[in-house]
Amino acid sequence: MTVLVGFVPTPEGEAAFTAGLAEARRRGEDLLVLNTPRGGAPVSADLAPPELVQQQTTRAQADGVALEVRQTPHSGDLADEVLRVAEEVAASVIVIGIRRRSPVGKLLMGSSAQRILLDADRPVLAVKPQHD
């Protein structure tokens, strides 16, 4: 069994990684960080730079968790890709970061997070970045 984290290099993604790491340690499972950019453009801001991946690896090692970071690009909807990978690795839980949004904002910006929450057939842990 694996803990699956949907990761993007944002505060939300960071919060998801931290929560996912803690979850994996608590459950004694492996951690899979899915950081998949949308394919088609040569550059994507959704992709974690190598230094960040390195940093995550160090943190996982310190916590004694086996970490895999998957960065293959996807086409189509991000939510579908997360759900597909969750199925593939038989994830015990999906960890995602979500944003605080007003009802109007939600109407305009249909969110991947919402689709994952609604469509997943396994537990989903949704976390928010801490505000200080």
């Binding site: 088609g40 086409s75 189509g76 909807d77 249909g110």
Partner: protein, 209 residues
Amino acid sequence: MTSPHHGAHALGSPGGRETAGAGPAGDPAPPPSTDTGMTDAGVTDTGVTDAVHEVEVEAEDRPPAAGTTSNLVIAVVVLAFGVAAFAGSWALGAGTAQRPAAGTFPLLVSGVLVLLGLGLLAGVRRTSDAERFTAGSWQVLAGLATMVVFVALISVIGFEIPAALLAFVWLRVLGHESWRLSIITSLAVVVAFYLLFVAALSVPIPHLF
């Protein structure tokens, strides 16, 4: 008439062989070594050409090479085209060297084409630069279909609806973009085109509105 003049001039200039040496020196036309230029660079530094090739392959990410059958088909198509052009030129009148006719030049070119097609046929097993058609090739056919629809409809109902349709299909079906992005982008593109071509430049393109 300029040509007889030039002809007379050339025939009158003596010592063709001697002056031939001066020709290429002042002439920008390349020395015969150009052909080997690529490999020369390679010989001086084989590593560079290899590395260049590697980068190109990496950047292009081409699918696997086509099989012998496809290469055979390519060669046969080239050959058939050459033969057809040859026959067509022959029908136009082959002419003679003294009196070139309308068909003379195409006849020469298609003759060369037939020879080259035969060369391609002979080397069918050795070539590896044709790509295999993959599942992705269907996408190309779909993209082509939208363009055919575009050209068929443009004179009937103007460019707006076919253009929006084309953009939408490319975005949503071929590009797997989201519904929202596909609809907004295809509408925005048509509005931008309308403003640019019809309103600003007054191009007489068939339009509905």
